[in-house]
């Protein structure tokens, strides 16, 4: 794969395609933020973005931001409320789709961002932040992950962000976007919806610590158009998030 786009750019495009027009989106930082901006610029001009710190935007910030609390993310927002206010809207069911990532994922879409002993020693991870809330309360969730064997586990060490479980009131994981492909999680089984160009089924199976359905006719992920790439490179000019050196998830 020596094309003119990075895998992370491809993942941004895949994330954007998960957003439908007029939807209310719980936007995270990094790739989902770019995906939201790209969706707005293309097929979902009337999508609304909520940030867990209380910001509501109907278009991306004018300047590059490192955190959702950066001043450019306040400028031009349609509203700047408190955390409990936007979480209340999430709990009400007013959010259609939310994006979350994690260090580990399992076939039910459970995510771990709290602690793991997978490498033998205890490793403390940053914790939930808003991810556990989005996983619990959004209409559906899209998971974004670095596709590595140690991260794709039969059962995660700790469920920070719950996936599918019996008695779930609402929502649950719909789609998993990784560095290797796009996977449908909505049926509680992991099925490849598309593999990124050049990725083989065997590569995916070797990088995945649990069974994954890959059909013969599983398509290749549609590559970014020139316009899509232009948007991404305008929004992330230094490749801070989408360059090949930056880790996702």
């Amino acid at each position: 794969m020596t094309s003119r786009y990075t895998r992370r750019e491809l993942m941004v495009v895949a994330a954007a395609r998960e957003i439908r027009d007029h939807e209310v989106v719980f936007v995270g930082m990094r790739l989902p933020l770019l995906g939201f901006g790209l969706a707005k610029a293309t097929h979902a001009p009337d999508a609304i973005g909520l940030f867990e710190n209380g910001v509501i935007r109907d278009r991306p910030a004018e300047a590059f931001i490192y955190t959702m609390g950066d001043p450019p993310n306040i400028v031009g927002a349609v509203a700047c409320l408190g955390l409990v206010d936007v979480m209340s809207l999430l709990q009400q069911g007013r959010v259609d789709v939310g994006f979350i990532g994690g260090a580990e994922v399992d076939p039910l879409g459970n995510l771990n961002t709290t602690r793991t002993s997978s490498s033998g020693a205890l490793t403390r991870l940053p914790g939930s932040g808003g991810a556990g809330d989005i996983a619990s309360l959004a209409g559906r969730t899209v998971l974004i992950m670095e596709h590595e064997p140690r991260r794709f586990r039969e059962r995660v060490d700790y469920v920070t962000s719950p996936g599918h479980f019996p008695g779930r009131r609402r929502g649950g994981p719909a789609t998993l976007i990784t560095t290797l492909g796009v996977f449908d999680l909505s049926t509680r089984r992991v099925r490849a919806a598309s593999l990124h160009p050049g990725v083989t089924p065997q590569q995916v199976r070797e990088a995945t610590g649990f069974p994954v359905t890959i059909e013969d006719h599983t398509p290749a992920t549609a590559i970014p158009t020139a316009d899509e790439l232009a948007y991404i490179r305008h929004a992330d000019p230094d490749g801070f998030w989408t360059g090949d050196s930056m880790k996702t998830g």
């Binding site: 007029h22 209310v24 109907d58 031009g76 927002a77 349609v78 509203a79 209340s88 158009t225 316009d227």
Partner: protein, 288 residues
């Protein structure tokens, strides 16, 4: 690049209050209004609802001064019986707040030991799983429509409101549909210059109408003083059902809309009520 699936913004901005009410308010709807207590009461909308012959099924809280029309309905069923669910200000606030938070109820200590909560359809005892004293659970109240009068909004319904707030924000969050009535529809840039002033984000709003003076005789900070006399006149006139009906004819039924109401009020009254001085808020700099 995929073609936009639905490029058109849903048109929230209505040409008239009549259009907004006809579209958003249906017979039998639970309507939340008068949410800032004594200011910003959307009287123009209430008058439009009366003209359109709709009936509000539920009166949640009546504070301050006995209303003769209300008393006749409650005490004598005239012109028709109304059903009352009694609340304190806090309990009705918590009922809206519970819905706003997406919860079936909120716990509280208010009302314990009194008669309001006894056998109340929306208030039940609840324990404290941490071993503290028992509380009351106030069940969520989700109005079909909230009608809110604000100073300014953009065409998407993002609304700036200042001064008295009361339960306005809770009701807009709680309601299935929210109608924003504003003194002025302003360009998006005005709203975006101060996102902390946006009490109601537009994605919660179903319809926006520009109706200056639409809250009279109640006040709107920076726009309209409270018109005290009509409150007294209504109180006097509504002592009898005939009086109430003649008042309704003069001020509601025989007037087609709010501009006609303002004209009937007269230029002298409007000049007295309209705020023309300035007491601007200290500057807040949002530069990044």
């Amino acid at each position: 690049m995929p073609a936009p699936e639905s490029p058109s913004v849903p048109v929230k901005l209505k040409r008239s209050l009549r259009e907004a009410i006809a579209e958003q308010v249906h017979d039998g709807d639970a309507i939340a209004l008068g949410l800032a207590l004594e200011s910003g009461i959307p009287f123009a909308a209430v008058h439009e609802i009366i003209r359109q012959q709709l009936i509000a099924a539920w009166v949640g809280n009546v504070a301050g001064g006995s209303g003769y029309g209300f008393r006749r309905a409650y005490e004598q069923g005239q012109p028709r019986r109304i059903v009352m669910e009694d609340h304190s200000n806090f309990s009705v606030g918590l009922a809206l707040k519970a819905a706003a938070m997406g919860l079936p109820y909120l716990p509280t200590f208010t009302g314990i030991g009194g008669d309001i909560v006894r056998g109340h359809p929306r208030i039940r005892p609840i324990g404290d799983p941490f071993g503290g004293p028992d509380l009351l659970a106030v069940g969520a109240l989700r109005p079909d429509v909230a009608i809110i009068h604000v100073q300014r909004a953009d065409a998407q319904g993002n609304a700036h409101l200042w001064g008295n707030l009361g339960l306005t924000v809770e009701a807009a969050y709680a309601a299935r549909r929210t109608i924003v009535i504003c003194e002025e529809v302003v360009p998006e840039a005005v709203i975006r210059s101060d996102p902390n002033r946006t009490m109601i984000p537009g994605f919660l709003v179903s319809a926006v109408v520009e109706e200056p003076g639409g809250a009279l005789p109640s006040s709107v900070q920076g726009y309209w003083r409270r018109d005290f006399e009509p409150f007294l006149a209504y109180h006097r006139t509504s002592r009898t059902l005939e009086g109430l009906q003649s008042w309704l004819r003069e001020w509601v039924l025989d007037l087609p809309d709010r501009p006609a109401y303002l004209q009937h009020l007269g230029e002298a009254a409007l000049a007295r009520l309209r705020v023309s001085d300035r007491r601007p808020a200290a500057e807040a700099n949002f530069a990044p």
